[in-house]
Symmetry: C2
Subunit: 674 residues, 2 copies
């Protein structure tokens, strides 16, 4: 960054650093939680100050013209609001032809980069998900935002957005005193950290009303963000549309482990739709109610988080924005992953490996490397079970946008589902040398139990089968003392020694049981696509009216346009032959045989990012060559008409590139671009 | 078919034919509808008799061993009940690794065969669908099955299934008189044709009770098969999970027409999930509550249903099972499409073209040609707006299974959405020569209307803007007579001459407006996949314990296995080199380095249909060649180890095939298969 700008930022950075140091020292001293929380909140406040100052100093020309981008996206039907002829509904979008093609190509690269390269198992689980599954995962209880309702009309507002809008309006009013303004800015800065009660108090204090009607508001309530429905005609089988694809992998863990011959580590991938019933979504593809995710769950031995291919990536340098950087008021650091792992910044090799692979993937599909960073979650941001978590963020006109999460979720998910279903979700770790283990088992005396407890016998047997060693030893004591009182659900049973046999034996074990940990790279495909559109949107320096996209050929929606110079019938045998050959090579291409000037037609194909254009002209008739034009540079070369399809195929699949092609074929300067 | 069997069937065929003739003559005579309906019902009855006799005569060995197929599918995790560790729920399935790969490969072939080859536009619309959209499409009112409930427990039963099970049980009871049995068989035969009232009567007459409890049943009610949910927090934006993908295309018609530069014909494709809340689904992948569809909507000029590529397919011969065949008690006829179009059996060229393309697709992905037929809907089966409809059916162990529908839906869908939204969904047809047209317009006098009707002015202007010529002429009469009374919704307005100006002018028109018709090929991907599994499941003739699949290489889940003959470390440099090269060619392959015999390992890869296997053995060390084995024939050839990856790539992409490969490389007889 410009040293002059750094001078402006220096005092802000210093403030963050001092507050960060305070948080650290409080933690070291094991200070009371309430003090730490207060200090962390102030730290976030100062961090936000710094970041908004940084953003305000970025020169205008670093950003794209968002209005023009949005115009192209809508006009060329990359995507649009769903059901727009019915008025639409916010948060739902339909992808049109170039949008679908771009998205599919991104996903195809993803499959090749991850599923094929990493030998991942792939599954496709149901979107409709039974309530108990999402109860176990925590979504039924915790996947919620606070909202308030208009007491008369019932209109709903997301609480944090309501407060923010109200206070910002207050502060910007002319008659707002500077004291008041400062007070409001303090509240706004701390908004994310407030509890439900504190937020309620703020609504009361500032006498907030429903913006649309001026009516009173209800107290805040939690609104669960899952779409609910019921399966079957009774209405009793409650279910939800999944809020993430991951749970579909966890519930299939046993079969997937089998498919990997019972061995750790292994990874599982899934691509599919997920759903979040946002309270009032804005921001286009960035906040959708129905969206596409691509997730990987990589299961590892909890005591061995090394990765066999770590060596191949350890020297990769990434923009790492560590929790420490954030606490120190610093920018991200470009750092090798090996350094980061050695210094304990990235928790383990597996995480580091996936960060590197994510970075490679983003570059491959055409992201601007200077606009990508990996931001580590600060300890108070992470789910309590996660041990480390990094977000891959892309710089867009709306700031740094979280596109991919990469978290070490420990054994949380498998344990939760195992507890809920009593199905063991674990793997066997081979022991270096076999060892003697003592086994305690609780063997029910079926005939006695059956006679005494009849219909409840099965309940008792299940309880015994699932008991662990500690529990069995406890039971044994009670039995030895006379009677074992067992409570299962709402029932309780008295068991005597003749009903249960406690069995002890020694076995030679070759394996021991472990609950795998899971590292989860999770991709928001629509956000990735949106960032990609921003990173590749360009305006011609010599003609501000013309825009184009610089998608890499492998992800471009259409690879090649075929343009006859005019409607001359003699051109068509060549045009049709080239189109047919491109098809047979699987290269998606598009004929533009309209009567407009070649320049206008180029502009039209540039606008949707078609990288290559073949023009059939009078020289084609004479010498059987065509023009091949590259959108990004508008350079043209002259290629034999019967060789152009295989050249375009190689360009489209990334087997060769434009600079190589230029070396082989003569440059052509002829048709004008205007 | 065996002539002896035909002798048995002849009288049944004759009966169907006679009844078919009766129906035809009744229709010709314009007989009362009630008489025709009765005759059609009896015709169906006789047809069913014939078909079940035909099925019973098929020799056992024509069918596969379904139990063994299902064992393989479950054990190797092609698919399984979703959330099985939570007990699962019927109608929801998760695809495991080989299942996902097979399905994706089928879809990839579909994209290449249809989207790429036919230059279709592709879209991806939301699954969540607003209620008004599905109201207009007819699904809210008509997409329902009849069901009855247990009056005490609330358990639900699909009415037709309940009656069928009850009556079949009655008829098979030992004490059932032969009279009674005949009566029941008559009822069963006519089951599909009964009205709600008739079915209610049957439930009463046979005193049916809830099967599980013996309790009384409620009267039948219609149960809508769509999953409902609401969007946003108010609960007021009612919506459904789409029951088909098609509507997402129709509502985007305007933008798609624009994307095709306003020209007809053009086709639009969409692949995605759809949902049907079946009352009590059975039958695995055949009846799913969440399933994948691939649909094409091909929009044509209603007066021009020719297809530019018709010539290329008109000589294709398909198994056509026309409505006429069905009425005559005949089997399907193998017939050229041109003949069928000429004879009016297939309604138009566009339909014929897509039937041919569907047939090619099914063969390409590996269906057994002898087990595919195209069955025409009989006139009483078709939706009232459809002009012709053919189902592509696959013969499976559950009989002929409808996998693909191909219908001419006329202008129904576009008209419905246009009526519901008042948005014009039409295209312009260029006129051969421009013509003079008279235009009548109703021009509101805004200032007067605004003053008089205030807030309702917009309502009135919209009504005028959308009025057609006939309506305007009617209004003109009323105005001339004094006052025009307009009713809009529940409001009514009195308009006078000063408020409205009826304008007439003559224009030179170069185009005329048409509402396109649509031909819809609609693919049920899961059913196609299930049929494909059945058509390709085989048992080794020399070893009944071993099963394999004969998927074509292009759709096989994994293309190639790589097997070191033993754990000898010297094999691994070759193994790893081959694996890396296959990966870089994008060929999905699988290492099996376990210590089991090579025969057992082949069996394991055969079981999931991996077509090719590379074995690295001691000769590899000596002469740098490997064995390549073909699953279907178990033949082996010997190929240089540095050439095998490109050979497998060409085999996997269909660029070459096994018989070609055998010509180039020496046969190898060495490793045993056992």
């Amino acid at each position: 960054m410009d040293p002059n700008l750094e001078k402006i930022l220096a005092p802000l950075r210093q403030e963050v650093k001092e507050q960060g140091d305070l948080v650290r020292s409080l933690k070291e001293k094991n200070a009371p939680k309430v003090d730490i929380d207060a200090a962390v909140r102030l730290l976030k406040d100062k961090k936000r100050n710094l970041e908004s100052k940084e953003a305000s100093l970025v020169p205008e020309n670093c950003f794209i013209d968002k209005t023009r981008l949005e115009d192209v996206l809508k006009r060329r039907f990359f995507y649009d609001l769903s059901f727009s002829i019915y008025g639409g509904v916010s948060g739902l979008f339909d992808y049109g032809p170039p949008g679908v093609a771009l998205k599919k190509n991104i996903l195809r690269q993803w499959e090749s980069h991850f599923v094929l390269e990493e030998d991942l198992l792939e599954i496709e689980a149901s979107q409709l998900t039974l309530e108990p599954v999402l109860k176990a995962s925590g979504h039924v209880d915790r996947f919620a935002d606070l909202m308030v309702k208009d007491t008369k009309t019932g209109e709903c507002y997301r609480l944090d957005h309501l407060i923010k809008n109200h206070l910002e309006k207050l502060a910007s009013a002319k008659d707002c005193s500077s004291e008041k303004r400062q007070e409001i800015q303090m509240v706004l800065a701390k908004l994310d950290g407030f509890s439900k009660e504190e937020l309620t108090e703020i609504v009361r204090k500032y006498e907030m009303k429903a913006p649309a009607s001026g009516n009173d508001l209800t107290d805040p309530v939690e609104f669960n963000l899952m779409f609910s429905t019921s399966i079957g005609p009774t209405g009793l089988v409650k279910s939800f549309l999944r809020p993430e694809t991951a749970q579909g992998i966890f519930v299939n863990f046993k079969r997937l482990l089998e498919a990997n011959q019972g061995k750790l580590p292994f990874g599982v991938a899934q691509i599919g739709k997920s759903f979040r019933n946002e309270i009032s979504p804005r921001g286009g593809l960035v906040r959708m109610r129905e969206f596409t995710m691509a997730e990987i769950e990589y299961f590892v031995d909890p005591e061995n988080k090394t990765h066999p291919k770590y060596e191949s990536i350890k020297h990769s340098k990434l923009n790492l924005y560590s929790a420490c950087n954030q606490m120190n008021g610093e920018q991200f650091t470009n750092m090798s992953l090996h350094e980061a792992v050695e210094q304990g910044i990235v928790a383990n090799q597996v995480l580091a490996y996936f960060l590197a692979r994510i970075h490679q993937f983003m570059i491959k599909i055409g992201m601007d490397e200077t606009k990508i960073r990996f931001r580590q979650h600060m300890s108070n941001e992470m789910a309590h079970y996660a041990t480390d978590c990094w977000d891959c963020e892309c710089l867009t006109t709306s700031g740094w946008l979280e596109c991919i999460g990469c978290a070490d979720r420990s054994c949380y998910d498998l344990s939760q589902h195992s507890n809920a279903t009593k199905v063991k979700l674990s793997a066997n770790r081979p022991l270096g040398s076999p060892k003697q283990v003592n086994i305690v088992e609780c063997v029910p005396q079926k005939s006695v139990i059956g006679k005494v407890f009849k219909g409840d016998a099965k309940l008792l047997m299940d309880e015994m089968a699932n008991a662990d060693e500690a529990k069995i030893c406890e039971w044994e004591k009670e039995l030895n003392a006379g009677i074992l009182k067992l409570s299962i659900g709402e029932k309780s049973f008295d068991l005597t020694k003749d009903m249960v046999h406690i069995k002890r034996e020694t076995k030679l074990a070759h394996v021991e049981e472990v609950v795998p940990n899971v590292i989860e790279p999770s991709f928001g495909i629509d956000r990735i696509m949106y960032s990609l559109l921003e990173h590749n949107f360009k305006i011609r320096s010599d003609n501000q009216l013309r825009t184009y996209f610089t998608f890499p050929a492998v992800v471009a929606p259409i690879k090649c346009s075929v343009l006859p110079l005019s409607n001359n019938e003699e051109f068509y045998p060549f045009v049709n032959d080239i189109l047919a050959k491109l098809k047979s090579e699987g290269v998606k291409s598009k004929l533009d045989g309209s009567s407009e000037s070649i320049g206008k037609r180029y502009a039209r194909t540039d606008e949707i990012g078609i990288p290559f254009g073949i023009t059939v002209d009078f020289d084609t008739l004479k010498e059987k060559t065509v023009t091949l034009r590259f959108c990004e540079t508008t350079e043209q070369i002259r290629v034999p008409s019967d060789a152009v399809h295989s050249l375009v195929r190689d360009l489209a699949t990334g087997k060769t590139n434009w600079s190589e092609a230029k070396k082989h074929w003569p440059e052509f300067v002829g048709q004008t671009e205007s």
